[in-house]
């Protein structure tokens, strides 16, 4: 699995952090998503998919 984020789309809602803290964080100053791990390991796949589904701005793309 490969994760791609689009910072321009992100609206800083933090849903991704709630779903997968190991993979997503938010920048201190403007709340925009930070990708901690672009190639997350197997056991994180379902929470990453959950994050992509929750993201209100469709800013997370998951390639398989």
């Amino acid at each position: 699995m490969k994760v791609i984020i689009d910072e321009d789309k992100c609206v800083g809602a933090g849903q991704c952090v709630l779903a997968a803290e190991e993979v997503f964080d938010q920048r201190e100053d403007d709340g925009i998503v930070v990708l901690l791990d672009a190639v997350p390991s197997e056991e994180l796949h379902s929470s990453v998919e959950d994050a992509a589904a929750r993201c209100p701005a469709l800013a997370i793309e998951v390639l398989k």
């Binding site: 609206v11 809602a13 849903q15 403007d30 209100p56």
Partner: protein, 404 residues
Amino acid sequence: MTDTRPTTRTQPAARPQPTVRTCPFDPPREYRTLRDEDPIAPVAFPDGTNGWLVTRHADVRAVLSDPRFGANRRPARATALPAGTPVPPPPPGMFLMMDAPEHTRIRRLLTGQFTVRRMRQLAPAVERIVAEHLDAMASAEQPVDLVRAFALPIPSLVICELLGVPYEDRADFQRNSSTMLRLDASQEEVQQAHLAMNRHIHELVLAKRARPTDDILSGLVQEGSLTDEEMAGVGALLLLAGHETTANMIALGTMCLLGNPGQLAALRADASLWDNAVEELLRYLTIIQFGLRRVAREDLELDGHHIEAGTTVLASLTSGNRDAEQFPGDPDQLDVLRKYSPHLAFGHGVHQCIGQQLARVEMKAALSALLDRFPTLRLAVPADQVPMRDDMLIYGVHELPVTW
């Protein structure tokens, strides 16, 4: 472009927007039929205009994340606006009613203040406020109105603290925010309330310019890219949004848990369920009761329906959150064990609630401590005598008399 042009050609039989509830926790029954039979339905709004009502979870999400729809500026209240009334431009700073790039410019100045991490850091302060109010409640004469004693003061204190608004001024802005959410308030009353709130924040902005402190308004002043009018608008919007929404989730959430003793027992037996329970209460109660309005910015097709530019589309959050396609099992049943699935309580798309992490922190702290502190908490009146907020844009209870 307005949303009042005649649309009879594509809308043969507009039904009235469903508004009547038969159970205090359930959205109007009609939504179920609409989801099954007519998920994108022509509808006549209470203000006399026509448009479309979207009731399925997937369609609601599609509409709210589709840039071909713009934020609508026509108020959703019941008082009739004469047909053809031009839609006014959004007031300065009202980014809720703006589209990109204006919306993005303002929202980005705020998102850093509401991150998951920052809101979690706030949790101990929120817990302290909660504990103080529970102490005060414990020594008060019973029955106690949970709204006045607990559910409203907590988010109110927290948002005032965050923004840098003196809590002593609450009588004024609580009255104003409540007027803005009343369905039967006239356009003029709403405008007056809005102006008063803006004036108030405007004065604060001027004071913080002279002497900045550590809060969001001072931060905006120092950042420097917004005009004073825009800062006043942003501040008023956050103050309004930070108030009745969370207050009603706490009060209505309490009533709902008291009415579902099995669920309450599960929570009392295992406190680790609280995060999940908060999401489930948000889904189940969805207090934005009439949904979110968008306006088509161009002629477009939506699932085979032709929607003309300028037409209003109402995306029903309450209906989407009871859609069995998305929430298998019985979506009309509160189930704190339900596996999280993206609910619509905070909306969806670029306007999704900016304060949602704060709301989560407040709901969890307030509900868990309240039920912990008062193991025998119960309603002091029969459930059908609790005055429900059918008459407000944000649903909930006007009062919740409790005893223990």
